[in-house]
């Protein structure tokens, strides 16, 4: 019994250290909703990928506003550090959940930012899969 408990604890700790932060129910719910939407948008959807999220974050992309070819243009190449709005100079709180645990915990806010920033960077809206990849990447950083 004691061994089982220890094993369980170890596996929980592995999950926590793998993602870098403890899970947040609100963030899980947001990711869950994007996963359901992604599955309905694309038949072969097999779950989110932090690696795809990182590529989306770092870009560079074409098609959007040439001043903002990547999320990293304003948020910075290291998402654990604060960013800076490229036009206004306004500081932006870190995107990485480890540095800013409130990230991706307000569904309406998350949708609002994707709705604005995807067109700014990509010149089109993001898919649910891209949104989930993005959050997965930053939750692990």
């Amino acid at each position: 019994m004691k061994i089982r408990k220890a094993l369980l604890l170890a596996s929980v700790m592995t999950v926590v250290s793998a993602t870098g932060v403890a899970a947040d129910p609100a963030r899980d719910a947001i990711l869950g909703a994007y996963a359901r939407q992604a599955a309905s948008e694309r038949g072969g959807f097999e779950g989110f990928s932090a690696a795809r999220g990182e590529r989306l974050y770092l870009g560079p992309h074409t098609g959007g506003n040439p001043q903002t070819p990547a999320c990293a243009t304003c948020h910075g190449p290291d998402p654990r550090a604060p960013g800076r709005h490229v036009k206004t100079g306004r500081p932006i709180e870190p995107m990485a959940v480890s540095a800013n645990p409130r990230r991706f915990t307000d569904a309406a806010d998350v949708e609002k930012r994707f709705a604005r920033d995807c067109p700014n960077v990509l010149g089109r809206p993001c898919s649910a899969e891209e949104k989930g990849d993005f959050i997965t990447f930053l939750t692990g950083r």
Partner: protein, 143 residues
């Protein structure tokens, strides 16, 4: 008397201009949570007194193309912000201009050498706190 009239007019005109500028050196800070949050994400949340009501109406009518960026808000959020900004708007300024930085009082108060403008931490004329550390509190007299 003939000599003094132009002097008087000059003094009056000058007095009005500086009164307008000094009226804007201390303005009430933003005291509306949604305005502070939504407007303050990409730039400082500018105080309502910095634009006349008609200027704020132009800004709020054009959020979809807000100085080159999409800044759209849910309808009820944007209605609350519009109400807050227009009812507390400034008494001075050109109502046709929606850029605070193009208002005549702003231009007059910001005639700097080019070297000042190029300080890397400023980036934009809209970055008030770069030079006015208490700008968020509505205090601009300490430049």
């Amino acid at each position: 008397m003939r000599i003094r009239l132009p002097l008087l007019l000059f003094a009056l005109a000058f007095g009005t201009a500086s009164a307008e500028a000094s009226e804007l050196e201390r303005v009430p800070p933003v005291a509306h949570a949604e305005t502070a949050k939504e407007c303050g994400e990409c730039h400082m949340a500018f105080q309502p007194a910095l634009l006349p009501a008609a200027g704020w109406t132009l800004v709020m009518d054009g959020l979809k193309e807000h100085f080159g960026e999409n800044a759209e808000l849910p309808r009820d959020t944007s209605a609350g912000i519009r109400e807050y900004l227009t009812t507390r708007a400034g008494r001075t300024g050109d109502p046709r201009l929606m850029r605070i930085t193009e208002q005549p009082w702003f231009v007059r108060e910001h005639r700097h050498r080019q070297s000042v403008r190029q300080r890397p931490d400023i980036r934009s004329k809209t970055n008030c706190p770069a030079c006015h550390p208490r700008a968020e509190a509505g205090i601009y007299e300490d430049d």
